[in-house]
Symmetry: C2
């Protein structure tokens, strides 16, 4: 089957990240999608600028219409941002029979109704997963996975800039203005941060989420919006003393036929998962009448996570280009003839830290024996601690946390320890998991 | 378009929950899928038993082949469990040209390779979202949303019984045997709990997850398996002292072309999201090279969450039955002509608890004025606390947390407080979010 030809409008952070991802993982993506995807054209604002991605095989232009009207192009990726010009790009692409993938939340939230109608009449798809919460697949989950549910409500940390600022105020003890300056230096906040910290960006995303959750037209104007400008260090500390964290949330609730949509800071009890989402990460909690409470967490912005969503959408769109059964989602994600056969690493080769609980008779020399045996097996100790003073049999627990050690070494050392005359029960051994 | 006819094999917990959900949300589901879905037949083991769902419009049989060979049936839901008999049911349904939705993790993990090959050759779909982590849409997310990523690894709390037992040991201070008995009484553990606490159930799920993540054939035998039987109350307490929680995880990692698949208890640092997943809930952390770390959280078992996954899959399958553009996933989840127009509740009608930070001059009678004003506006106080002793201007912060109060009342009370002679700065007001 011939490759799918893709035109990209905009090679900024997200555009370059997407071109880069399609190139880097082209084999994996073709193993999943069953067809090659080829970026043949890209539109940029300034032809003379250096690019953040390899463009040697891509025809560059500063005229988007060269792409949106090109009969060779199957799918247009609108990654330029903004509203009016982007509307023109998407609308022209649709008029010319092209499917569109976009990351543009402002465009969808404010003009999505018109664009979707145009697309539906033409039998085309506008895919917009990347417009909401970056790499978190919340649009697909709400729209497809939860299709059996009546959605009762959702609440999300939808703006990474706000969450970064609130986290930094808390952790660094700095005040709002100092943290905002730091966020701007790190590229987490725009020079004009009003869209982010004023809540507009989160409101765009909430508008889109509410539509797919409740089946209502997009209605940005019905969202109540508050930003985080009024919050100070002391509010975060007082909230902490009371058992809460402060997060900037987008909330959509359905209650006896009434909806409320709002974006504002909230106190959340510390043991809630949402309260533990830190830094630039995003998360959305969704309540459905069947699924109950569920939560999706991930990176809400940035070149790579947003590109992940754009490419996921692109693969979906590519699958709509033909309707034969062979073009469906493969059962095991990859095409059946493309399954791999990697070497399976046996458990004996795994290396990680371990928790060991020994039960030993409390007498001189036992700890020396134990640590000697561990050392002889290349197991080094991070923590060792004898618990309590022994029961009537003079038996005490000894807890050890090791540094990373090979499974086989730990297993052999444990067996050896169990042969010690002072050993009173089998050693309990639990691996320590680290996200590495 | 004519309704889609569905036959259900098994009306146990999941089967009855699915029939119930399809009936309860039939209007919402048709608004999304564009077609009515009708359960016309169901196979049960014992015809004389009372049912947990309405069956008056459903033809019951104790012979599954009556359904799997019936030309009127479009889709078969295999919700009976077990291996050999379920294999026969699915295989017969495929031979008779029917798509299949199943919640059967043992069947897919151990015999999925054969069944998928049979389905692919017949151009049919076997959907199995409900087989892994109940209501959490992890199969769809890995298979479709993350199609642009190279998956580097995943780690999940995949068995609710194990997680419930470990959480209860920690929170109740009971030992393993007492908690297991309690879990059995509550229906969270089977009379023979070996499949759950021995790790077999989690290993079935991990087998499936690893295949869709890495594009490898299903290979249950390559999973290293340990259960939670060796853990005691003291291990959980010692781990807690060291800064960890103990969770039973399924882990799949890809590392320089080698895979390791394992199921065993782990220590996890307390500030990790996975460490904060309690009770019967499940969660899966996925690391992709583009998306970075992401996490999906939700109910991993039970009638309703599993039915949510079955119906999500069923709607996907229904969409494959025709290939016209009108049968695609609608842009806003619901069919365009089916969008609703609910009343939007204005922010003034919202009721919730509030955090207020006042800045007042530290003089007698101020707190009396403030509390009187709040009372006059039907705002009742949960906590009130004066912070510090005033600065050189004699100005102090006063922090208040209210009970639920109407937005309009709080706003009016706040305005009134700001007119007090002792008031020194605008009142800072943050809403308290509760999951309800």
């Amino acid at each position: 089957m011939r490759p799918v030809n893709v035109g990209v409008i905009g090679l900024g952070t997200v555009g370059a990240g997407t071109v880069d991802l399609l190139a880097r993982n082209s084999a994996e993506i073709a193993r999943r999608g069953g067809r090659n995807i080829r970026v043949t054209q890209a539109a940029v604002r300034d032809m003379s600028r250096a690019r953040d991605c390899e463009v040697s095989d891509i025809h560059l232009t500063d005229e988007p219409a060269t792409i949106t009207t090109n009969p060779e192009i199957d799918v247009v990726l609108e990654l330029m941002g903004g509203e009016d010009e982007a509307y023109e790009v998407v609308s022209t692409a649709l008029r010319n029979g092209k499917h569109v993938v976009t990351a543009n939340k402002a465009l969808i939230a404010t003009r999505g109704n018109e664009l979707f109608e145009q697309a539906s009449q033409a039998g085309l798809v506008i895919a917009f997963e990347a417009a909401v919460a970056g790499g978190i697949p919340v649009i697909k989950v709400v729209r497809e996975s939860l299709a059996g549910n009546r959605i009762d409500g959702l609440a999300g940390i939808l703006n990474g800039t706000c969450n970064f600022i609130l986290t930094q105020i808390h952790e660094q003890g700095l005040d709002y203005d100092a943290v905002l300056t730091e966020a701007q230096r790190l590229g987490y906040a725009e020079a004009d941060p009003y869209f982010d910290i004023g809540g507009i960006d989160a409101a765009h995303k909430l508008t889109i989420l509410a539509s797919v959750a409740f089946g209502i037209p997009l209605d940005f104007d019905s969202v109540y919006i508050e930003g985080i400008e009024q919050l100070r260090y002391q509010d975060i500390i007082y909230a902490d003393e009371l058992g809460y964290r402060i997060k900037h949330l987008g909330i959509a609730r359905s209650d006896s036929g009434h909806l409320d949509l709002r974006v504002h800071p909230c106190l959340i009890e510390k043991d809630q998962l949402l309260a533990n989402v830190s830094g630039v990460m995003n998360a959305v909690r969704i309540r459905g009448d069947a699924v109950g409470d569920s939560l999706l967490y991930g990176a809400g912005a940035g070149a790579k996570p947003t590109a992940s969503a754009v490419v996921g959408d692109l693969v979906d769109v590519v699958r709509t280009l033909t309707s034969d059964p062979g073009n469906r989602v493969p059962h095991l994600a990859f095409q059946p003839q493309q399954l791999a056969d990697p070497r399976m690493r046996p458990i004996t080769e795994i290396s990680c830290a371990h928790y060991l609980r020994l039960t030993v008779r409390d007498r001189p020399g036992v700890l020396a024996d134990v640590t000697r045996i561990l050392g002889e097996h290349q197991v080094s100790i991070r923590v060792i601690s004898q618990k309590g003073f022994g029961d009537e049999q003079g038996v005490v627990p000894v807890v050890i946390v090791t540094h990373d050690a090979k499974e086989a070494d730990i297993a052999n050392a444990t067996k050896k320890i169990e042969t010690l005359e002072a050993n009173a029960a089998p050693v309990v051994r639990v691996r320590v998991e680290t996200p590495d």
